[in-house]
């Protein structure tokens, strides 16, 4: 579903003498198969969001080759958009001034979702994510947790084969977090949706991901199961300690 082959992305920053090149991602390779649930970990500035932007066609890689759902994201960006769902926890992809329901209607048209399919899907998602209370509220008036649920719904209305989430649990309270995890697990199990998510919350990883990839300074440092991850630092109690050990190593 996702193929990343020797991908690099650098940015030139600063002017004049202070000009330098930041290598956000270097020589990154991995593949994610259909139906997998993968956690993408790494310290701040490791290159997670940059990777996700390349997978979704927002950024063109400086080197290497990316394929998502069989398409080159840079060349076939709009075609790819129909096959993937994307959620940025840090910002909404919804229309700020529109009621949630209107945003969804707009998405139905943009993604050319059949009306009957759309209503079936929306009913299902609204039920699972408990949207009933705020479907007619403008997005700017929603709380963070409500907005996040709205964003996840928006990303799934066209039934994408791949769901890519950048920090989907950031800022959520315990109850919302548990609900979001239950929802994502169910989505993956029942619909077979391939999921790739970044997070700083290791609870997300423990509860959801069979596979973990760890990136640091733009390079892949670990790729394996959660148990493999624990085994890299035997004797440490929590997953937090294990990961902290890897980040500082």
């Amino acid at each position: 579903m996702i193929e990343v082959d020797r991908v690099g992305r650098s940015f030139t920053v600063g002017r004049g003498r202070a000009r330098r090149t930041v290598h956000a991602v270097r020589d990154l390779s991995f593949t994610v198969g259909a139906g997998e649930f993968v956690g993408y970990l790494g310290p701040n500035g490791a290159g997670k969001s940059t990777t996700i932007k390349m997978l979704t066609g927002i950024l063109a890689p400086t080197s290497g080759r990316v394929r998502v759902a069989g398409l080159d994201p840079t060349r076939r960006r709009t075609a790819l958009a129909r096959r993937i769902g994307v959620v940025f926890g840090q910002r909404t992809t919804l229309w700020w001034d529109l009621p949630l329901k209107d945003s969804f209607e707009l998405i139905r048209h943009l993604y050319k979702v059949d009306r009957a399919d759309f209503h079936r899907r929306l009913d299902e998602l609204a039920d699972l994510l408990d949207l009933g209370g705020f479907l007619h509220t403008p997005v700017r008036q929603l709380s963070l947790g409500q907005r996040m649920r709205g964003d996840v719904t928006a990303a799934l209305l066209h039934e994408p084969a791949v769901l890519i989430l950048d920090e989907p649990t950031i800022g959520l309270d315990v109850v919302s977090k548990v609900a979001m995890r239950a929802f994502l697990r169910r989505l993956n199990a029942e619909h077979g949706t391939t999921v790739l998510l970044t997070t700083h919350d290791l609870g997300d990883i423990e509860k959801l991901c069979r596979r973990v990839m760890l990136i640091d300074h733009g390079r892949l440092g670990f790729d394996g199961t959660v148990d493999d991850l624990r085994a890299t630092a035997p004797g440490r109690e929590s997953l937090e300690e294990v990961v902290a050990h890897l980040y500082t190593a």
């Binding site: 940015f11 969001s49 932007k53 979704t56 066609g57 927002i58 950024l59 063109a60 840079t74 960006r77 709009t78 075609a79 958009a81 129909r82 993937i84 994307v86 940025f88 840090q90 910002r91 909404t92 992809t93 229309w95 001034d97 529109l98 209107d102 707009l106 048209h109 943009l110 993604y111 050319k112």
Partner: protein, 262 residues
């Protein structure tokens, strides 16, 4: 594409319909404010018989065609100039994950019809001048064509200005000079400007094809700069070339898009 445009524009219109009073005031405001332009033209003609060799109604004809093209382009696509705001706010990332071109999403973002005031004003000026000039019917076909060509030219300049912002963050001002400057420039007969400038806006930034060259045909006037007669008919070609250049620049800009670090 047209359907998507209409859908998005309609959605924004509905969202802004919550504030009908502000909409009415802005429309009226732009109608009145641009009306002052015309007052300016009348004042000039209080003191003189001609401006650059052109009479009052000829100048009004130029003003009306340029104003109509510009106001239409501004209403339909002028929002693409706000690219750098979207880049900074991160909302441009969001547009790139939708199955619709970013250009259409930019153009329709917060779509409003306040500029209808400007459009109505320009159409009115054109409507007053045409019967007075009474050009032969056989030349009238050029009038709608030149408005459309002007629309395409101004839209392309808006798009070029947007594309430039992928590279430079403070490009809006540069682009403004060409769009708003171009609109002001073409409101008057080009004969009031120097020959070098007119060559520039004929062969480099093809603003002369917004209305000047086609108007020479409609009004059956000699070219004060002695440029070839066939230039009067190449507005569609000039508009098309500029549109292709703008589309390429826009695509190249998206390829170079850097997003933001957070």
């Amino acid at each position: 594409m047209v359907r998507t445009y209409l859908l998005l524009a309609w959605t924004w219109l509905r969202a802004s319909a919550q504030y009908p009073v502000s909409f009415a005031l802005m429309t009226l405001g732009s109608f009145t404010l641009t009306g002052l332009d015309v007052a300016g033209i009348w004042i000039i003609f209080e003191h003189t018989e001609s401006l650059g060799g052109f009479g009052l109604f000829e100048v009004m004809f130029l003003y009306g065609t340029s104003g109509l093209s510009f106001a239409l382009a501004d209403m339909l696509f002028g929002n693409v100039e706000r690219l750098s705001q979207h880049v900074r706010a991160g909302s441009f990332d969001t547009m790139l994950i939708r199955p619709t071109g970013a250009f259409i999403q930019m153009a329709t973002d917060r779509f409003g019809v306040q500029r209808l005031g400007r459009i109505a004003q320009a159409a009115l000026v054109l409507g007053i001048s045409l019967p007075r000039l009474d050009p032969p019917w056989s030349r009238m076909w050029m009038v709608p064509l030149m408005v459309v060509c002007g629309l395409v030219i101004f839209t392309s300049i808006f798009a070029l200005g947007g594309a430039l912002q992928f590279l430079l963050t403070d490009a809006p001002e540069v682009a403004n000079a060409f769009t708003y400057g171009g609109s002001t420039l073409t409101q008057y007969p080009l004969s009031i400007y120097g020959g070098e400038l007119v060559k520039g806006v004929t062969f480099i930034v093809p603003l002369a094809f917004v209305n000047w060259q086609p108007a020479l045909y409609v009004l059956d006037r000699q070219d004060p700069f002695g440029l070839p007669y066939w230039l009067r008919f190449v507005a569609p070609v000039a508009a098309l070339l500029l549109a292709v250049a703008a589309a390429l620049a826009w695509r190249a800009g998206i390829r170079r898009y850097r997003s933001t670090g957070s």
